[in-house]
């Protein structure tokens, strides 16, 4: 039984939906969310955190609907780690962490900072006096303060350079909590998530075990993602020259950029089960699978 589950949710701002009819289960072993910029990853994360009410569909927290759930317990169970600016610029690091703690437990601040590998002396600094890596650790420390069962991580390392990034990832990998991880970086997903979902234009286009997904993509977009990753010392990634096309409004949203698009793609493909472990929304998934496997 997973802790959180989205069932056919549509999400949007104002009246414009940006995430369409997504079903997603946060299971053990980490769940990754990858996809194009603007495809709705953060939006989905906000919905899981109860910060955004679905326009339709439900989010289940255990067997309760999140709308009616006991929010106090929920807040203790699920915590976010956001991209940037997750710390109040006017608050000292210690105070930010303390905010998560009940009054009598404020003495735990140093302990929590140490847990994420920070010198407790940094508690007196304000965010702008901390480096990006340190800031991100404070955010994690604050999230850990409530002993959450699930962390929702939205690009926790994208603002950091690779050396710092590596340290944070180590820290996250060692935490007992479950996680939903959002990132552009396929390598990071590969390391932290057993299951992954690929989002394109507000729709899940492929999901399944991360390793399978990256080894043998079943959706052309996943395939393109994998192949476009530059490799150290490798050839420059191949360009297709049609990347400016926006998601299509009808039919398969990827079809304007898809090298394998055919007439059939003008009707929207449903998300279907591929081999019991994998689901994909593509009419030609089987052919995609037959593409030469990655250069990895």
């Amino acid at each position: 039984m997973s802790l959180l589950r989205a069932e056919r949710v549509t999400l949007g701002y104002g009246r414009t939906p940006v995430v369409h009819d997504v079903t997603l289960d946060i299971v053990e072993g980490g769940v990754g969310l990858i996809g194009e910029s603007g495809s709705g990853k953060t939006t989905l994360a906000r919905a899981f955190l109860g910060l955004l009410t679905p326009m339709s569909g439900n989010i289940w927290y255990g067997n309760q609907n999140l709308k009616k759930a006991d929010m106090r317990r929920f807040r203790g169970d699920v915590q976010p780690v956001f991209q940037a600016e997750a710390l109040d610029p006017r608050m000292r690091a210690g105070a930010s962490v303390a905010e998560a703690l009940p009054r009598h437990a404020r003495h735990r601040v140093p302990e929590l900072l140490e847990q994420v590998g920070l010198d407790p002396a940094l508690a007196d600094r304000r965010p702008h006096q901390l480096s990006g890596g340190q800031r991100q650790r404070v955010v994690i420390a604050r999230a850990l303060a409530v002993n959450p069962r699930l962390l929702i991580l939205d690009e926790p390392t994208s603002a950091l350079d690779v050396t710092v990034q590596a340290k944070i990832l180590d820290l996250l990998a060692g935490l007992p909590a479950g996680r939903l991880l959002i990132t552009h970086n396929l390598a990071v997903v590969g390391r932290l998530c057993r299951t992954s979902h690929v989002l394109f234009a507000g729709r899940v286009v492929e999901s399944g075990p991360t390793a399978d997904l990256l080894d043998r993509p079943a959706h052309p977009y996943t395939l393109a993602l994998r192949d476009a990753v530059p490799r150290l010392g490798g050839e420059p990634p191949a360009a297709r020259g049609r990347a400016e096309a926006r998601p299509a409004r009808t039919g398969c949203p990827f079809r304007l950029r898809c090298p394998m698009a055919v007439a059939e793609c003008e009707s929207a493909p449903a998300l279907r089960d591929l081999d019991g472990r994998r689901r994909v929304a593509c009419h030609r998934a089987e052919e995609v699978l037959r593409e030469p496997s990655g250069r990895r």
Binding site: P80, A84, E85, A86, L87, D88, R90, S96, E99, H128
Partner: protein, 278 residues
């Protein structure tokens, strides 16, 4: 390196100059009882309207009162009005604005429409009515101006708060289960204050001017209270014949409003959020 424009340090100097000026003015006002050569209400009808001289530095008014002493004492009233109006209207406006900005939706709509109604109202006319109901006095001026002043802060802080409310750190606090009221007080409010602070010092001059205009129309402070606007009003028919009666209080208003403006301009640059964060 020549030719590369140097970022002006002038801005900080502006803020500093404004602050120093205001301190001086406030000191003069507070110390008026000791600095002023005459009590502000001391009349000397036989010496009415005598021009500035060694005895009366700024001359005397129509009742023979010492203009210099009255200008000094008038500072107390005018500054009191400015501080009180800004305190009241900023508190009310910012609280409402922050709630509106944070809550959004219909709460925001309701608050902002009410704000609009008050904004649409000519301050002077609203003040007229209030001045009548409450009897013209310094308190009335404060209430009357504050009533028409708060919507500015409500608007300003609603806009800022709305943008603050979408910041991840506010979301983070919500996810920690911090109650809305605490989020507003702890995160949204403090982070919405910078523009308000700048606006406040820019507005201080405006309040003094409005109070002066109300007094000028006979709706504000009442004689024998020494208040700059009232003094200008009393002297205005003497403008061409006994310039000192109206010029000195007028200059006092100008100088004070100017000092606050200088401070506000300076603060606007000095408190630039980008500077704070960097």
């Amino acid at each position: 390196m020549p030719r590369v424009a140097r970022l002006p340090r002038v801005t900080d100097r502006f803020a500093l100059a404004g602050a120093v000026l205001i301190t001086l003015i406030a000191l003069a006002a507070v110390l008026a009882p000791w600095l002023a050569p005459h009590p502000p209400g001391e009349v000397d009808p036989l010496n009415a309207l005598s021009p500035p001289d060694g005895e009366h530095w700024f001359g005397t008014d129509a009742a023979g009162r010492d203009v210099f002493s009255r200008v000094l004492h008038g500072g107390q009233t005018s500054l009191l009005i400015a501080v009180a109006v800004l305190a009241v209207s900023a508190t009310a406006g910012v609280l409402l604005g922050v709630v509106a900005g944070y809550a959004g939706g219909w709460v925001r709509d309701v608050i902002m429409r009410i704000t609009d109604v008050f904004l649409a109202f000519p301050a002077l006319l609203l003040s007229v009515a209030l001045a009548v109901v409450l009897e013209p006095s310094v308190t009335t001026v404060i209430v009357a101006i504050a009533v028409t002043w708060w919507p500015w802060y409500a608007r300003l802080s609603a806009a800022t708060a709305a943008s603050i409310a979408t910041r991840p750190y506010v979301d983070a606090a919500r996810c920690l289960g911090v109650p809305a009221i605490m989020i507003i007080l702890r995160h949204v409010l403090p982070n919405s204050l910078t523009p308000v602070l700048v606006q406040l010092s820019l507005d201080a001059g405006g309040v003094i001017l409005t109070a002066a205009a109300l007094s000028y129309l006979g709706l504000g402070a009442q004689d024998p209270t020494a208040e700059w606007g009232l003094m200008v009003e009393q002297g205005q028919t003497l403008f061409t014949t006994n310039w000192w009666v109206v010029t000195f209080p007028g200059l006092a208003i100008l100088l004070t409003a100017f000092a606050f403006n200088v401070l506000g301009e300076g603060l606007r640059d000095a408190l630039d959020p980008r500077r704070i964060v960097k």
